[in-house]
């Protein structure tokens, strides 16, 4: 494998990892608060749709990404009412959100679409650093949504571990009764966590649109990224920094699919095998991670009586 091939492999790895990382970070925040957001895939798809629609009407990538985040917030608000305040089953609700998002975005893209030519977000190349062999282009010649995804991992880590909000968030997920005894509204903390999480999932969809789709939307374009995030959260043990590494590994596995198809003896392996590798690894890793379990209160509606 040549230097050029390895360089592009790493570029693709980071590109593949960024949208997954956004959704994973959002899911970590949500689950830390005690809400299991099975609807991450649908939220991401809705964020992608909102972003692409905004671009089609002439919005800049920045404004379009804000639209994606905004739709994520609306989804989070609706989920909060259903899950936290109305105590709807979170598994059933999440499945419904995913089904709704697929149908809604496909139908809406058919009836509400501007005529502006879509573009990706501009690539921001860091001088000198981008010239570093192998990793330079991958790490220092990406768009803002990719850079921010990498920076967001330690930021979310600090937010959860080092702030009062983070402390309350973890308490809401692990010991909600204790939080309630301290006079803090568990429901409000969980609501803030869930909405923050869905905003990041919406941004994950936006990241996909402005990184890989030239600003356009395609039905079901998230292709299961939100579902993979559910597994990555478990593998990462709800730790944003581990999630960063885990998503990079998944990005690498996905990127390898395309290198392997035309790389010497590996090209003899059926394509379907390479396409399945990331998912096989995910299943094996989740199965092997025996000690990783949800906190007993995650996914369970809370009430003080």
């Amino acid at each position: 494998m040549t230097i050029a091939a390895i360089t592009v492999l790493l570029v693709i790895t980071v590109q593949m990892a960024a949208p997954l990382l956004w959704v994973t970070l959002g899911e970590i925040i949500s689950e830390r608060s005690g809400v299991l957001n099975i609807g991450a895939e649908g939220t991401m798809l809705l964020g992608a749709w909102a972003t692409a629609t905004a671009i089609s009407f002439g919005a800049s990538p920045l404004v379009a990404c804000l639209a994606g985040i905004g739709v994520g917030a609306i989804v989070g608000l609706v989920m909060s009412v259903l899950y936290i305040w109305r105590r709807v089953d979170q598994i059933v609700g999440g499945i419904m959100v995913n089904l709704f998002a697929l149908g809604f975005t496909t139908a809406m893209w058919a009836v509400l679409q501007g005529t502006a030519v879509g573009v990706n977000a501009p690539t921001l190349t860091v001088p000198l650093l981008s010239d570093i062999p192998f990793i330079g282009t991958a790490l220092f010649s990406q768009n803002a949504t990719v850079y921010l995804a990498i920076l967001a991992a330690p930021a979310v880590f600090a937010l959860i571990r080092r702030t009062r909000w983070g402390l309350r968030l973890r308490a809401a997920g692990e010991q909600p009764s204790a939080l309630d005894s301290a006079g803090v509204s568990v429901r409000r903390v969980r609501t803030s966590g869930l909405i923050t999480g869905t905003c990041l999932a919406g941004l994950g969809g936006a990241c996909l649109v402005v990184t890989s789709a030239s600003g356009g939307f395609v039905a079901n374009m998230t292709a299961g990224t939100g579902f993979i995030a559910l597994g990555v959260v478990i593998l990462a043990r709800w730790n944003p920094l581990v999630a960063l590494l885990t998503t990079v590994v998944f990005g690498l596995l996905k990127a390898l699919q395309f290198q392997a198809q035309s790389f010497g003896p590996l090209s003899d392996v059926p394509n379907d095998v390479w396409l399945a590798v990331p998912y096989i690894v995910a299943i094996v890793a989740v199965a092997a991670a025996r000690s990783t379990r949800f906190a007993p209160t995650v996914g369970v509606p809370w009430s003080r009586h």
Partner: protein, 377 residues
């Protein structure tokens, strides 16, 4: 006060939410559109009713969009009412939707998905009074004989179109490396990149192809990744054999270090990515859709009929306008392209079929091994 975790969900709210969502899903996931083939006035009560079932939305600027456009091209003299349902993905969705329309008196079910033959046959057997046409497929004689009498198969010679695109790519490439990103490994897709490289080799013996299958027609990230890999290996012209995922190819080409062009399919997509679209391959799917429905409405589809569409009978396989690419597609290149196209139309050049031929194009690598001289180049 006793503090507990409430494990009992609000079932009433859950059921209500599920019902509302399911309703929205039914309204949204499979967008339906009705058109009338009898001009501006509504089709009369005794209009021939036909439904199209397909795998994409009506505005995907690709395969399904072209099919949808065909509904408005049905001859105005034919009294037809049509419906369009898409996107559908699984066989049960096709059977469910087809059964629903057949039960409502629709007399034709047109399926424009080459992977849904089993669903189509099941529908044909369940509704013997309904004409069920499905394609693109290229059935063998034995398969045709086994079809129900109310079943028809249709096909289009896509490889003629990609062959011409390949000729252009072979003349334009600076690196002698072209590429294709394809959605799935089945004959109706494999024939596209194989025809493409055969066309390129017809005018440039040094050109090679890198084809990558991504197992999806809509995964833009995978399409982009595949194309970036190809670009890094030197490819400078990429044929799209995907649908909506072509946007990933635009992204890859726009970010490529060297000038790289994309050749999308089904629509003249220049306006979608003017910096990188070289031309587009057009298959007149709209014309095919209109023709099939007209034939059914007029009772002109015979039992177990196989209807192949080519350039000769319905202008399948043309290249779109080059727009402002005349600096790349020079007069000399256009002249050579026109000469090859003339030989293709006259039959001096014959691009192999995907089945039945000595070297069928449904075999991966066929386009790189067939001697161009053997097909008339």
């Amino acid at each position: 006060m006793r503090i507990t975790h409430l494990r009992r969900p609000g079932r009433l709210v859950a059921i209500t939410a599920a019902a509302v969502t399911a309703g929205l899903l039914l309204a949204g996931c499979t967008t339906t559109a009705s058109t009338s083939g009898s001009g501006s006035t509504a089709a009369s009560a005794d209009a021939f009713k036909a439904v199209v079932l397909t795998d994409g939305p009506k505005n995907d600027q690709s395969w399904s969009n072209s099919v949808f456009d065909g509904l408005s091209e049905i001859d105005k003299s034919v009294n037809v009412k049509t419906d369009f349902v898409g996107p559908l993905s699984t066989p049960d969705e096709y059977v469910q939707q087809g059964s629903a329309y057949a039960s409502q008196g629709y007399k034709m079910i047109l399926i424009t998905n080459g992977a849904q033959t089993a669903s189509a046959i099941q529908l044909a057997k369940s509704f013997p009074d309904v004409t069920v046409c499905q394609g693109p497929i290229s059935p063998t004689e034995a398969e045709i004989a086994a079809f129900p009498s109310n079943f028809c198969a249709w096909n289009l010679k896509q490889q003629d179109g990609t062959f011409l695109a390949g000729v252009l790519a072979g003349l334009v490439t600076k690196t002698n490396k072209v590429a294709s990103v394809a959605g799935g490994e089945f004959p109706a897709v494999i024939r596209q990149p194989e025809g493409f490289i055969l066309g390129a080799r017809c005018v440039n013996p040094d050109v090679t192809i890198d084809t990558k299958y991504i197992n999806s027609f809509s995964d833009v990230a995978a399409a982009q990744a595949a194309a970036q890999t190809q670009v890094s290996a030197g490819a400078d012209v990429i044929l799209s054999a995907v649908d909506g995922a072509v946007k990933g190819l635009y992204s890859a080409a726009e970010g490529a270090p060297q000038t790289t062009y994309v050749i999308p399919s089904y629509f003249d997509s220049y306006e979608r990515a003017p910096k990188v679209v070289l031309t587009s391959v057009l298959y007149n799917l709209n014309g095919i859709t209109a023709d099939l429905i007209q034939r059914a409405a007029q009772g002109k589809i015979t039992a177990k009929e196989y209807i192949p569409y080519t350039y000769a009978n319905l202008k399948v396989g043309e290249l779109a306008d080059f727009h402002d690419r005349t600096d790349v597609v020079t007069a000399d290149i256009q002249s050579k392209l026109e000469a090859i196209e003339a030989k293709l139309r006259s039959g001096d050049i014959v691009v192999p079929d995907e089945k039945g031929a000595d070297a069928p194009l449904s075999v991966e690598g066929a386009g790189s091994t067939i001697d161009p001289a053997s097909i008339g180049c």
